[in-house]
Symmetry: C2
Subunit: 379 residues, 2 copies
């Protein structure tokens, strides 16, 4: 998503910081992914951005949803999404939440441990469970392995355990890591999944679902594979490694790739100073109010209204709170003439920004406006 005249005008007229959401871009992303992976059902990962207009747009396009909590389930129910279109994708669930989901009619539950199998068996007897393989995701910004997923042998024994506990061992999921840069990671993961499929088939257990997880990247500062390229790799890998398994349900759980490039975070310089050899620029938005991912070194493209990168300087960019952790980037290049009250755009900030927002230090998270709302506001 590009900074356009509407956003420029809004940045001048409205109080910053705010996040602009382009719902049309979300729709485009959905349709493009759907076209790139025709046989794949899309379960949007609500955690990336749970703004109600995003959820409604995806609902209307026929998307399903990957949920992680009762809070997310209830938000979807409130806009009439059927539980049949939800998958409880968090392998760390409270038992009472499992029961709540099951009684509503949610069918699919994620597991990656024996204990989680037992919890699901107690509260959702007969549910379909899928187990998560931990992939080696060193080509991604967030290697999610470790906390989630486990090795192939363990996945096999978990699904057998599910079977013995009266659940339906239904499928395999993996996650190549959020913001993955290597399309062949999907091939590797599908190959690994096929090992589980085949071994369990020999044990009389026929899995029905392959869950590709998320991880499709959004363009920030590094080059990325396209959705179409990833779709091709996925399609070929399924044909090559899973041809024995007919009528597979194939799903994916995109988060960042649905909404990342549908948002721009608009902020303002509220202070510039020099301390010793260092130049500091302070914004009215920071780590605790939307830019949490920067402390894990996520690199946003930053644009400064009216200023160019032809001449740059080295700056430390920080947020407005009385907290040293609220330092966005140390020693980054910004236009040399960046100055007080300049408008600063964080491009492609639609995912995992306001969702992490707190009210720390008495400062509210950025307001969120859709393009339509913005048009109304500055009319």
């Amino acid at each position: 998503m590009e900074v356009n005249e509407l956003i420029r005008e809004a940045a001048k007229k409205l109080e910053t910081p705010f996040l602009v959401l382009d719902i049309e871009q979300v729709k485009k992303n959905y349709i493009r992914l759907k076209n790139s992976m025709k046989k794949v059902d899309i379960f949007y990962a609500v955690k990336a951005n749970s703004h109600i207009e995003i959820l409604k747009a995806l609902r209307d396009l026929g998307s399903s949803f990957d949920v992680a909590s009762v809070g997310e389930i209830d938000k979807l129910l409130s806009i009439g999404v059927s539980p049949k279109r939800m998958s409880f994708g968090n392998p760390i669930k409270k038992e009472k939440d499992i029961e709540y989901a099951w009684k509503l009619g949610i069918e699919y539950f994620s597991v990656d441990s024996e204990m989680e199998v037992e919890k699901v068996a107690r509260r959702a007897p007969g549910a379909k469970v899928y187990a998560r393989i931990a992939t080696s995701s060193n080509d991604s910004d967030w290697p999610l392995s470790g906390k989630f997923g486990t090795d192939i042998d363990h996945v096999i024994s978990i699904l057998k355990w599910a079977n013995r506990n009266g659940l339906v061992p239904y499928g395999i999921s993996f996650h190549v890591g959020s913001q993955s840069y290597n399309k062949y990671k999907w091939q590797e993961a599908i190959l690994e999944a096929s090992v589980v499929f085949n071994k369990l088939m020999k044990n009389g257990i026929e899995l029905k679902m392959l869950n590709l997880g998320g991880g499709i990247p959004v363009k920030h500062t590094k080059p990325i594979p396209t959705v179409e390229e990833i779709g091709e790799v996925v399609d070929e890998s399924i044909q090559e490694y899973l041809w024995k398994h007919k009528d597979l349900m194939i799903i994916t759980e995109p988060g960042r790739s649905m909404v990342g490039d549908a948002g721009i975070l608009v902020s303002k310089v509220i202070l510039k100073s020099r301390k010793g050899a260092k130049q500091w620029v302070y914004l009215d938005v920071g780590v605790f109010h939307g830019l949490m991912e920067t402390i894990e070194n996520f690199q946003y493209e930053i644009q400064v209204e009216g200023k160019s990168y032809d001449k740059t300087g080295v700056f430390t960019l920080a947020g407005p709170t009385c907290d040293s952790v609220d330092t966005i980037y140390e020693d980054i290049l910004l236009p040399a003439d960046i100055d007080y009250e300049d408008i600063v755009y964080f491009i492609n900030a639609g995912a995992y920004t306001v969702e992490y927002g707190s009210s720390f230090n008495g400062i509210e998270p950025p307001k969120v406006y859709t393009i339509d709302e913005l048009k109304e506001l500055i009319k």
Copy 2:
């Protein structure tokens, strides 16, 4: 603050996670600090915990308040705290917030750059400003220097600049770093402050205020100096280095030391699993819902109800969200027999916990109960 029978009973009866606040402990901390530093005015740093009962208790004891935003100012106004008892201690302020504060009657403003001086001069002409020295705070858990404060020569020129811009150059602040372990850091900082006092006196500028900042530590896992010991060092250092400057207003901005040991975060194990060689324990509270400081490696004392540390195991402790950053501690020692549904207490978690809480992943931050509320709830 210790886990007592009331908290134990509440942990069994109420839904976790929740934070218990002992307001009596806050009062004790205030009185103890006041007694240790008799000539010092206490400005409670609201950001540490802005719970309304804490603010009311401190108001009633005569505390003043260090505020960082309009949000914090408004919260204090709502309980009748006079703006005369507030200091705007954030050196990164929005201009309109400066004006708002000044018009309300707030007198003291923090600055650590020329530009901030100019902003205050425009919106709060005639205000009293204090400038912050960056101290070398390598004996603390959070060395706050870098983002805040600047060197001695710069502080002098900033205060001269304030003078030329029609402000009252009023004082010097420093901050030895949050959770400081070395009491002589206060001595060093007061010595540095005295250099500024003396140099400015030669220029005809008489400073009136010494702001000791915060940094008084709370007992977690490392040994700490007591408030009394720190008070003694402060007292001696002021007599030794600042004796020329009569009728000094001396203030301190405690946050963690007022509320840190007045809170216990109560959570539950919702999953235990083994992955490869690693054992994982997942709680119903995590980094995004109260334990943010653990990702900066803050070490809480952790107790597990009914389990002892006589036999320990190495575990990775993680929160409940679908986010790998939500990993509290890697490879820590916990009771070897920690298990599903065990109650886990984070001791001395009254500061900087729920204040950072978000609603990420559809999960609400922990509820907060005072001891009195808890008694009512489990009656």
